[in-house]
């Protein structure tokens, strides 16, 4: 098949040697348009009914601004916790052999496979004051369910695979000789990790953490059950959108959604550009 298309390509003196550029790019763009751009256009279509002042009023409403703070704060905590534990998990999965390793590896993807509402209900049951964990933590003065801690917990549950799965392959590719070289040069285990291993994993770790953070910004199902949803305190932005929708205020919902969308998009773009520069340096560009 590929041989034939190559032969045809050679016959018609193509500009590119690799076949299938037009077809594959065409299908990709169609797919992107249908799956991503069309819904986004719909979203902005809803915004057309709003004047700039109305738009501004909706997105700077006190209750909504409070929800930004809760969402971003909890997502940041969740992302940092995930960065630390995700790195540890990836390290354990790559560097050591132990019984049950494959099981642990498979378990990493569970948050992706589980419906988020199931995760939310499970977490809420566990951490409510009569749940298993709640019962233990309550006497210590730690309340998880219905506080921002619960929100961060739900967020880190749903987004941990992002960190593990981005760091794991990079760590696998890293030759052991790199650490060994650091040791032969007299570095302590910690110095070796900090100056040799960590910089190597840094791009993957930042990307994974960034993805986890962005994912947490948009998470809804896992959080609402454990958040308690008290106005100004434990309401997340996704809930604000949901509330607007229930009131048939589509324009309002779209306005808030557009803020989340732009924030996520800006972050993803920033990560991409930064990572591109870093990788160029590792592979011989002038960075």
């Amino acid at each position: 098949m590929s041989v034939r298309s190559l032969a045809i390509g050679l016959g018609s003196t193509p500009k590119r040697v690799l076949p299938g550029f037009g077809l594959s790019l065409g299908i990709s763009l169609t797919f992107v348009s249908l799956m991503l751009l069309l819904p986004m256009t719909g979203l902005f279509g809803q915004l057309a009914g709003l004047s700039l002042a109305e738009y501004w009023a909706i997105i700077t409403n006190d209750r909504v601004v409070a929800s930004y703070v809760v969402t971003i704060g909890a997502a940041a905590v969740a992302a940092i916790v995930n960065a630390a534990f995700g790195l540890l998990l990836a390290w354990v999965l790559v560097r050591y052999e132990f019984p049950g390793k494959r099981l642990l590896d498979a378990l990493m993807d569970l948050p992706f496979a589980l419906p988020t509402a199931v995760a939310g209900i499970t977490l809420a049951t566990l951490y409510s004051s009569n749940g298993w964990m709640g019962q233990l933590l309550e006497p210590l003065g730690l309340q998880v369910a219905y506080t921002w801690v619960g929100i961060a917990l739900a967020m880190s549950f749903t987004s941990i695979p992002f960190v593990v799965r981005t760091v794991q392959p990079v760590l696998e590719d890293m030759p052991h000789e790199m650490d060994e070289a650091a040791l032969t040069l007299g570095a302590s285990d910690f110095t070796g990790f900090r100056r040799v291993v960590l910089p190597h994993l840094w791009p993957a770790l930042v990307t994974g953490t960034g993805l986890a953070f962005v994912r947490s910004l948009g998470e809804f199902g896992a959080i609402i059950f454990i958040a308690g949803n008290m106005p100004y305190e434990t309401e997340i932005t996704a809930l604000m959108i949901f509330v607007r929708l229930q009131e048939y205020d589509y324009a309002g919902a779209s306005a808030i959604a557009s803020v989340v969308l732009f924030a996520s998009l800006a972050l993803l773009l920033a990560i991409n550009i930064w990572q591109g520069r870093f990788i160029k340096r590792l592979h011989g560009g002038h960075g």
């Binding site: 032969t184 110095t191 840094w202 340096r281």
Partner: protein, 365 residues
């Protein structure tokens, strides 16, 4: 600094990678560890470095000079290690790579940053890469990367320098150049060094002494000259050059094999003789001592000598002979020509071992 190993062995699980060995290396020596893959040479080097721990054998010790390093961690052994695939820190510039060892010293021993800078520049000058200081490893060629790795290993003025197949990943020409350059550097700085290779030419050219290993055992330790002229056993003989086999039965001082005959001074019985390719002459007629009719199967007239592949009914595997260009022209060799092989010398190692060492190609590690 001299290196002395006493009763050092290593198991990986149930397989014995290295039988307990003794080894003495005097100060300032450049010693090659030579052997096929799986011979335990890299394991031995890594044990000396401290990257691998030896089995707990009674009396097992590693000494650097008078210093017992058997139970010391790699980082405290004061060794320089050069890896086959360079193992440079890819996110650091050449300068930072070479400076690494100095910058991770405890604060009290660490030189000032000015001193570090001048030392690194001196090292880079020595490896002729001072103009590359601000480049990243990915921007350098393989040979340059290996020189950086060497400068990095020497930055802490190690007691011993250990190199694991240092030129294995480079192409032939660069390898030749680096070899000569390492020999030069060694003579100049006079550190004790030990390198691993599976390339016999490299070992013989570079080393003061060569340690030949197979199957986790040391077969012979000698100077390259002695090793080549007086191999201790059949393995060493076969590993150090091209070998032709002649198997047959001896009766009344004549070895017969099909229609081939060779006068030998041996007792009656089955025999196997080994012949080096450069110890074979080719002639148009047999001599009274040797009647070995052969047919020319292939000719490769490249280099100082012409390599000729020979076939015959009585030969299991083709023979290889090297003749000089003058003889090549005199005999007017062509493929299919029928000639006689005249051995100038032959060697014989009566079966002392049944097990044949494997000669599989080195895996990429």
């Amino acid at each position: 600094m001299s290196i002395r190993l006493q009763n050092i062995g290593k198991h990986f699980g149930k397989t014995q990678a290295l039988e307990p060995v003794d080894l003495d290396i005097t100060e300032g020596e450049l010693v090659g560890l030579l052997g096929p893959s799986g011979s335990g040479k890299t394991t031995l080097l890594r044990i000396i470095a401290g990257l691998e721990t030896a089995d707990r054998e009674p009396g097992g010790r590693i000494l650097f000079g008078e210093r017992d390093v058997t139970h010391l961690h790699v980082r405290d052994r004061r060794i320089g290690f050069v890896f086959q695939h360079y193992a440079l820190f890819r996110h650091m510039t050449v300068f930072d790579n070479v400076a690494f060892g100095l910058t991770v010293l405890p604060r009290k021993q660490r030189p000032s940053s000015g001193e570090i800078r001048s030392r690194v520049h001196r090292l880079l000058e020595m490896v002729k890469l001072e103009h590359m200081a601000q480049r990243y490893p990915a921007q350098l060629s393989g040979g340059q990367q290996q020189r950086v790795s060497l400068a990095r290993a020497l930055a802490l003025r190690p007691d011993v320098l250990l190199l694991d197949e240092p030129f294995g990943a480079l192409d032939a020409k660069v390898r030749q150049e680096l070899r000569r350059w390492l020999r030069h550097l060694h003579d100049e700085l006079n550190f004790t060094s030990l390198f691993v290779t599976h390339d016999q030419e490299e070992a013989l050219e570079l080393s003061d002494r060569v340690v030949v290993m197979s199957n986790g055992r040391i077969e012979q330790i000698d100077t390259p000259d002695k090793l080549y002229r007086h191999p201790a056993n059949r393995f060493v003989f076969e590993f150090l050059g091209d070998v032709n086999h002649l198997e047959g039965t001896v009766r009344d001082g004549v070895l017969t094999c099909g229609d081939a005959r060779l006068a030998v001074d041996l007792a009656d019985g089955p025999e196997e003789l080994l012949l080096r390719s450069h110890e074979l002459e080719l002639a148009e007629s047999p001599s009274p001592e040797a009647q070995l009719p052969v047919t020319v199967a292939a000719i490769s007239p490249v280099g100082a000598e012409v390599r000729v592949e020979l076939e015959a009914d009585w030969l299991g595997e083709p023979w290889l002979a090297t003749v000089n260009h003058a003889n090549y022209e005199r005999l007017a060799l062509t493929r299919g020509a029928r000639l006689y092989a005249l051995p100038r010398r032959w060697h014989r190692f009566p079966a002392e071992r049944v097990k044949q060492p494997s000669r599989a190609p080195e895996p990429v590690s």
